[in-house]
């Protein structure tokens, strides 16, 4: 909208304030301005340049282009290699770049572009940090499953390609995905969050106590010496699907009697919510090492030591990460000289 450029509020904040856009983080302008972060997007978004300008609230530099004819206009564009594809698409010529009829096209392009940048941003350190704040505030809602006891969820996509499916909510407590309760989220593309964010969040913030409900404050796992803080497969053992397992599985009953598995209507899906009572059963590497200890000693030794190393590593990583965050909340603010590296 032409009004958005004049308004004090930036396009990004007004976009994130829209009804139904509650899950979105505000992508920092530095992130968008780094061309490296936009690699490959110009082929995916029509009117890429205009859309990018709209997102960044940059006034189009076309004051004198109004009188120019099409050819010259296109020459100008071709000089700017970035949007040759968008500008030449039929019906999307940009010589009327900011008149009303085009604005809706640019607006939707901008939303698409923002979403795709958002998918990348929330996997960057600054982005995932911002999403963790939104997670703590419960912006993403809670798991509808009764036995998950209102634990917080994370917005995820089932595809990284736009237009395939809407945004879903991933519950780290039962490791399943749910449809957001409000229909207004059914217009939000899942690709704007992507398939990676949910899993990456769990790896980035291993210390969150995933069994806590949204009504309780977010806490890190309690660290009393008596507590079991053992790691399992890269996460804290207590954070391995805390909403699943014996006692958290629905047992159908009729007048107090369990419905037998052998019955036609008997339970068939309990495995989906099951978890071994002793989660160390899931430590397949260790069991493999234990089973093969006799046959070849050398290998099992290396496996054992390797396992010991991997057990330590995530914890160390998390600490390192927190230190880095404490020093410098947004790695995107690092000087452009090592901007590419900071993104990683």
């Amino acid at each position: 909208m032409s009004t958005s450029s004049g308004a004090p509020e930036s396009w990004i904040s007004s976009f994130c304030a829209l009804l139904g856009h509650e899950y979105f983080a505000e992508v920092s302008e530095e992130f968008i301005e780094d061309d490296f972060n936009l690699t490959g997007l110009q082929t995916q978004v029509a009117m890429y340049k205009e859309a990018l300008e709209m997102i960044l609230d940059i006034e189009p530099e076309d004051d004198d282009e109004e009188d120019d004819d099409e050819d010259e206009d296109e020459e100008d564009v071709s000089g700017d290699a970035r949007d040759s594809l968008g500008a030449r698409a039929p019906g999307e010529r940009r010589h009327h770049s900011r008149i009303a009829s085009d604005n809706s096209v640019i607006e939707s392009s901008a939303e698409m572009l923002y979403g795709l940048i958002h998918q990348r941003f929330i996997c960057s350190r600054a982005g995932i940090q911002q999403m963790s704040e939104k997670y703590e505030l419960g912006h993403f809602g809670v798991c509808p499953r009764t036995n998950c006891n209102q634990t917080r969820t994370l917005p995820v996509g089932l595809s990284d390609i736009p237009g395939e499916d809407t945004v879903k909510l991933f519950c780290p407590s039962c490791l399943d995905v749910y449809v957001p309760p409000n229909s207004r989220f059914q217009t939000v593309d899942g690709a704007f969050f992507g398939r990676t964010f949910g899993g990456l969040f769990l790896l980035t913030f291993p210390e969150f106590d995933l069994s806590k409900s949204a009504t309780e404050g977010v806490t890190n796992l309690t660290r009393t010496p008596t507590d079991d803080n053992s790691m399992l497969n890269g996460v804290y053992a207590r954070n391995v699907a805390p909403g699943l397992g014996p006692g958290k599985i629905y047992q159908p009953k009729i007048y107090g009697f369990k419905v037998s598995e052998v019955a036609r209507s008997g339970p068939r899906m309990q495995w989906l919510r099951n978890k071994p009572t002793d989660v160390t059963v899931l430590d397949e590497a260790r069991h493999f090492a234990a089973d093969h200890a006799d046959s070849d000693d050398d290998e099992s030794m290396s496996l054992n030591s390797g396992r010991a190393a991997t057990r330590r590593r995530p914890q160390g990583n998390a600490r390192l990460r927190q230190q880095r965050q404490a020093q410098n909340g947004s790695p995107m603010t690092v000087e452009p000289a090592n901007g590419a590296e900071s993104e990683l």
Partner: protein, 269 residues
């Protein structure tokens, strides 16, 4: 419906049950037959549970004509709703009640399963306890056999005992054709295409549980109900990867590849 005209004859809302089931928040209830309500046998024991039992029953059956103040009326009204709920729990497991709830189930009056892999399978209301005022109503999905909280707060306030712990299981015993095909389709969390180690290990363990169950059932010649037939084992891997569309090299841009290096250095399986 044609005798709605007579409604104006009474000062108080006649056809109390009509009003009750059509009022907002009571969408889960079906209408209890007059015959069922007037048979005292069906109400056995409820007189100790409901305050002003007789007045409440009169109100529910539209024969209430006590002259009383608003406060008293409010109390009786509340009792009537409670009584209706308790009778409802008994009624919906009768043949007629099951048929009525089946109609509502088919229309999706109880909502759709929020689990993505259930593909909006209709839900059934259920209680976690048959004792009134202990647990609010929950919704049961026959496809994933799990229970969910109602989306709306006005439904979350309804007592679960008004539906009971047995109804949703009885309906599938009475109408076995309604039992949906089970599916092993599931969500596997991934980071840049790589499964999360702890989640993947759990999935593998769960799959062995499922295969064990299917083997047990097959030994007893019981149909397991899985739509993917006998492809046990080999079908599972397909289900696991079904959300995994291979990304072409073009879709993997430099930023992602770099981040993969970072992520895989950590704990990704």
């Amino acid at each position: 419906m044609d005798d709605f005209a007579s409604e104006s004859d009474s000062d108080y809302a006649s056809y109390w049950r009509d009003w009750f089931i059509s009022s907002r928040g009571n969408e889960y209830f079906c209408e209890i037959d007059e015959d069922y309500l007037t048979d005292r046998f069906n109400l056995t024991g409820l007189n100790t549970e409901v305050q002003y039992y007789q007045y409440a029953l009169d109100l529910v059956t539209d024969v209430f004509d006590l002259d009383c103040d608003d406060e008293m009326r409010e109390t009786i009204e509340k009792s009537a709703r409670h009584l209706y709920g308790l009778v409802h729990a008994r009624y919906i497991v009768t043949t007629r009640g099951l048929a009525k709830m089946l109609e509502k189930y088919k229309k999706g009056d109880f909502g759709k399963c929020p689990r993505v892999m259930c593909h909006s399978h209709p839900l059934l209301p259920m209680g976690l306890s048959d004792v009134p005022s202990t647990k609010p109503v929950k919704l049961y999905c026959a496809r994933c056999e799990d229970i969910y909280n109602p989306k709306s707060s006005r439904h979350a306030a309804i007592d679960g005992a008004y539906f009971g712990t047995s109804f949703h299981n009885i309906i599938f015993q009475v109408y076995p054709a309604l039992i949906p095909a089970k599916s092993a389709e599931r969500y596997v969390p991934r980071v840049y295409g790589f499964k999360l180690h702890h989640a993947a290990a759990l999935v593998r363990w769960q799959n062995t549980q499922r295969d064990d169950m299917r083997r047990r059932l097959r030994k007893m010649d019981v149909e397991s109900g899985f739509k993917d037939g006998d492809g046990e084992g080999e079908g599972d891997e397909d289900d696991e990867v079904e959300d995994d569309e291979e990304l072409g090299p073009d879709d993997f841009d430099a930023a992602e590849v770099g981040a993969i290096a970072q992520a895989t250095a950590g704990t990704v399986a």
